[in-house]
């Protein structure tokens, strides 16, 4: 893909004339603003940018971004986006999906877009609920979630989006949450990554699952519960007083106390986004005993699907001309001699047939 020229835009340039129709207080507003703030920083060209979504509250997103937008059908946005990207690899594609859209009805497509590594940013708004259909529990809802379809509490085990993405072969996995001031940085990192970049964004559904992420997302005490990952930096939280170390006996992470800022002495690990094993450990960390890992968890690019498809097409076409007449006459042929005045076959468009 050619690096497109940077375009100067402002946040306003990315707003459409359409009234935003999410519930007041919905986390989607904050994400929309974060994206609209990020796009000018990226130098993105609205004409070259495509937002593609499935179905659900989050999937209304494209209507509010002044770029090209395709609001598709439930769960299928990754497939549509794959076709868009193969037809025109130069387009900058953002995929907007949710926990139901991306992990339930569209789980299969999510698996394959990640496995194939199609170059796009995939933003999965995880609110752990079906919002647009009025509050049923979703594949990421915690066990025991009471909802219209689970009146005495859900019994399903929830899916872990980032673990799913890693398992599917994603080469970029990151986490953020709607009102976080770091969200634009996460989005920028996702955009910089060439390949499928998976970003789970915890999003507050104020109507059906209000404040379900407050345990780590509320500002009060955030320091103690959020671990923001930085490439090459020690994995510290709680104001640098605690960190993550490797328990080599059980091959798992553990929280260690850091005194006097001496994280090395405490055995705190340094974050290396290319370390896939570490990424697995980070996404599997249970929240509670551990902080919530946020930021870029994993980032290790490899060639994209669309570049491989283009290369294959170029290679397969090498030295060949697209001569349709020759193609039609391929294989073993024979000639019925005659005046040959009429070169057209007996099966041109029309209803009648030759009747010898």
């Amino acid at each position: 893909m050619n690096a497109p020229a940077r375009i100067e835009t402002t946040l306003k340039d990315w707003e459409t004339d359409q009234e935003v129709r999410w519930c007041p207080g919905c986390g989607d507003y904050a994400i929309l603003k974060a994206v609209q703030r990020t796009l000018p920083q990226l130098g993105s060209d609205p004409a070259n940018t495509v937002f593609i979504s499935g179905i659900g509250c989050s999937s209304r997103f494209p209507y509010y971004i002044e770029s090209y937008g395709f609001h598709t059908i439930h769960g299928r946005a990754p497939a549509v986006a794959t076709g868009v990207k193969l037809a025109n690899p130069d387009l900058d594609v953002w995929l907007i999906t949710g926990d139901g859209d991306g992990l339930s009805i569209g789980g299969n497509h999510m698996l394959h877009v990640l496995r194939r590594n199609v170059n796009m940013q995939i933003l999965l708004f995880n609110n752990e609920i079906y919002g647009l259909t009025k509050g049923q529990y979703s594949p990421t809802s915690r066990e025991g979630t009471r909802s219209p379809s689970s009146p005495i509490g859900s019994v399903d085990h929830p899916a872990n989006p980032c673990a799913f993405a890693l398992g599917a072969g994603a080469r970029f996995v990151a986490r953020g949450f709607d009102v976080s001031r770091h969200l634009p940085d996460v989005l920028m990192a996702a955009h910089a990554h060439q390949g499928a970049a998976f970003v789970e964004i915890f999003q507050n559904c104020v109507v059906y699952n209000k404040d379900v992420f407050n345990d780590f997302a509320q500002p009060k005490g955030a320091e103690d519960r959020q671990l923001w990952l930085t490439d090459g930096e020690p994995m510290l939280f709680a104001g640098g007083t605690r960190g993550l170390a490797l328990d080599t006996d059980t091959l798992s992470l553990r929280v260690v106390e850091v005194s006097g800022g001496d994280w090395q002495a405490a055995g705190v690990l340094v974050h290396i986004p290319r370390n896939r094993m570490l990424a697995h450990l980070l996404v599997e960390m249970p929240f509670g005993p551990f902080p919530m890992a946020l930021g870029v968890i994993y980032d290790d690019p490899r060639p994209t699907f669309e570049s491989a498809v283009v290369a294959e097409r170029t290679k397969a076409s090498e030295g060949k001309t697209a001569d349709l007449a020759r193609l039609l006459a391929k294989g073993q042929t024979w000639t019925v001699p005659g005046s040959a005045a009429d070169p057209v076959g007996s099966s041109v468009a029309g209803q009648g047939g030759p009747d010898l």
Binding site: H71, V80, K85, V336, S347, Q351, G352
Partner: protein
């Protein structure tokens, strides 16, 4: 409901005097799935085409890839009808049957014409194989073949002998059996061996020994013919070439013709093609063909499922390519919602359905025309979509181009119907000159197409042209950013709009666009444009209907053949045309779907003739059905044609009565799949 008894003996070939050369012959090759009968049939077809005979083929194979050897349901067969006159069907009963094992004989013998020739490999008639074929007594010895000319000898041994110099193991040597048989068939019909030898050398380029062994087998089979003629029932037959329009010819299957037509269609539209597919029988061949045509700007994408295949194709169309997807009934069902999205977003898309027997998984390798309702009506909401049906393998080429044209000119998905028979069958094809087709270059919008109240330029993504089509706006075009989606949208801006009057107008506009697709007037392909009886068909019933109507007319019956390509919208004159007939008969390989459409559209009293055995209509069956309109007995017209024991797929094939497993278990250590004498 009137039913028709299966005609026992009514050949397509008019009875010829003894010693006279018939003008057409039907040959059926039958053997175990592993015997290479489809390959033999395919190569014999090519040789027939090169000899200038007209032909039609019917490949029939089990749904299993390697069904247990020697079993009735593992029989694979290939029928070819060829002659020195026009051929429209794969033929009714075979004149010649080649049976490579007892199961193949058991399954196919009921089809053979009385007095027909059966060629049998006695080498496979072991007790074990006879048991598997459920023969209590050896049919070679019990007189049950008395009604036929029998040429029974040990083809296996002959083949092993012929390839001895090449040092192949017994198993590899026996694999040359099909070439030996082909050699004999080539001799029988006076065909040159050179093209086959050349083909074998090319096929086994890297294994010259195998090539030489196969050629030796081919030559030996051919030589055997000459010797056998002196003593046995074998006669050499030379069918002169059919008079044909001058030009360059080749053979083509429906799957090839669809692929080539799609490539041609994309070129005529001036667009790169994106093909999204998922493996399914019998549609996969289209994906395979297109995957080899990348130099034509074709991108093929094997998706994770049927839904992703169509969604990716639609995404490609959105981005400015010609999106195409293909499947068979069950896969088409999965694509339904995405078709609705294509209809709602008004993007071009071609959907090919190679129909097979249904419902559900149904009969994956057998043919049926039972997806017509699905094509015309099978989506949620008022979701009209043009539907075109190909009538033969070669016709599929023009139909694919037509589908591309309508999709691009009207910004709509289009369904192209073929079926398992058309997809697999081969016929000669006069190679068309691509420059004879009128191009229909696609236009992508470059600048804003409307004015606002102040007169300033504005973008109206849903402003329609005189055809009712909206502009095609590629992402990446400066200044034309806009949003589309599956939600109802404003009739001009495309912004979300659920208001009642707007939905009414948009529903009307979508319907009017499809209703208004320019479709050529319906012609009568045989007979008068009015009279006593019109036989109205669509799709692959073309061949048998055409021949049946021809024969009936030769007998003086006032009957015409009308074959409809444009299923939706129907040709504007069709209602008028049908009302010019006293009666209308609609033969279909379903329970009467097109009949219902015609009744609904035109209030004509169309009678249905149905056949849903996974077997195509025979000419004789249709001839009998036509005769009922002229026999003076009221009320016996139409009805259901019963399964026909003469036809492929044959009766015993495909049925496991549960005894096979017991038989295999009774011989411990001998898996049923490793039974070679």
């Amino acid at each position: 409901m009137a039913t028709h008894a299966a005609p026992t003996h009514q050949p397509e070939v008019e009875p010829a005097a003894p010693d006279m050369v018939p003008d057409a012959v039907v040959v059926r090759f039958a053997g175990d799935s592993g015997d290479g009968m489809q390959l033999t049939g395919g190569q014999f077809t090519l040789s027939t085409a090169l000899a200038g005979n007209d032909l039609a083929t019917f490949p029939d194979f089990p749904a299993e890839i390697r069904a247990p050897q020697g079993t009735l349901f593992g029989v694979s067969a290939f029928q070819i009808n060829f002659g020195s006159r026009q051929i429209n069907t794969a033929g009714d009963a075979p004149d010649v049957l080649v049976a490579m094992n007892p199961a193949a004989l058991k399954v196919n013998l009921p089809a053979l014409k009385p007095g027909g020739l059966v060629i049998i490999d006695t080498g496979e008639f072991t007790r074990r194989n006879l048991d598997k074929a459920k023969y209590a007594a050896n049919p070679l010895e019990d007189g049950s073949l008395a009604a036929f000319d029998v040429l029974a000898f040990d083809i296996s041994a002959q083949t092993v002998e012929a390839v001895k110099p090449f040092g192949l193991g017994n198993k590899d040597a026996l694999r040359c059996k099909n070439m030996w048989t082909l050699g004999l068939a080539l001799w029988m019909f006076d065909r040159p061996r050179e093209p086959l030898q050349e083909w074998l050398r090319e096929k086994f380029r890297t294994k010259p020994d195998i090539a030489a062994a196969n050629i030796a087998a081919l030559d030996a089979g051919h030589a055997y013919g000459e010797t056998a003629e002196l003593s046995g029932p074998l006669r050499q037959l030379h069918l002169p070439p059919v008079p044909a329009e001058p030009g360059l010819y080749r053979t083509v299957t429906g799957a090839e013709a669809v692929s080539l037509g799609l490539v041609a269609g994309a070129q005529l539209a001036g667009l790169p093609m994106f093909f999204g597919g998922y493996p399914i029988t019998p549609a996969s061949a289209i994906l395979h063909h297109l995957a080899r045509l990348k130099e034509f700007g074709v991108t093929t994408f094997q998706a994770e499922d049927e839904i992703a295949a169509i969604c990716a194709a639609l995404g490609a169309s959105y981005a400015g390519s010609l999106g195409v997807t293909s499947s068979s009934g069950p896969g088409i069902a999965l694509k339904g919602e995405a078709m609705g999205l294509a209809i709602m977003t008004e993007l071009p898309l071609v959907i090919v359905n190679s129909q097979r027997g249904g419902p559900s998984t149904g009969l994956p390798t057998k043919t049926e025309q039972s997806d017509l309702y699905q094509a015309v009506y099978g989506r949620n909401g008022d979701a009209a979509m043009p539907v075109i049906a190909a009538r033969s393998p070669s016709d599929a080429f023009a139909c694919a181009i037509e589908a591309c044209r309508i999709a691009v000119e009207y910004m709509t998905p289009v369904m192209l119907l073929t079926d398992g028979y058309i997809a697999n069958a081969a016929e000669p094809w006069r190679v068309p000159d691509p420059s004879a087709f009128t191009p229909f270059p696609a236009r992508h919008l470059r600048e804003k197409n409307g004015r606002d109240a102040q007169g300033a330029a504005t973008l109206l993504p849903y402003q329609r042209d005189d055809k009712g089509a909206r502009p095609w706006i590629k992402p990446g075009t400066p200044g034309l950013m806009h949003r589309i989606g599956g939600i109802e949208k404003h009739e001009l801006t495309g912004n979300i709009d659920y208001s009642p009057a707007n939905h009414q107008r948009m529903t009307d506009a979508r319907k009017a666009k499809v209703d208004g697709v320019a479709v050529p007037d319906q012609e009568v392909c045989l007979g008068a444009a009015g009279g006593a009886l019109a036989v109205v068909g669509w799709g692959s019933t073309y061949g048998p209907i055409h021949q049946a109507v021809r024969r009936s007319r030769a007998k003086g019956l006032d009957v015409s053949h009308i074959h409809v390509r444009h299923i939706w919208p129907l040709p504007a004159n069709l209602g008028e045309l049908l009302r010019g007939f006293d009666a209308v008969l609609v033969p279909e390989m379903n329970t009467g779907q097109f009949k219902t459409v015609l009744r609904d559209r035109y209030l004509v009293d169309a009678q249905s003739l149905t056949k849903t055995s996974g077997q195509p209509f025979q000419i004789a069956e249709l001839e009998a059905a036509i005769a009922k309109f002229f026999d003076g007995i009221p009320g016996n017209e139409g009805g259901e044609v019963p399964p026909n024991p003469q036809q492929l797929p044959s009766f015993a094939q495909g049925h496991d009565d549960g005894t096979l497993k017991d038989a295999a278990a009774a011989q411990p250590g001998t898996p049923a799949t490793q039974d070679r004498p």
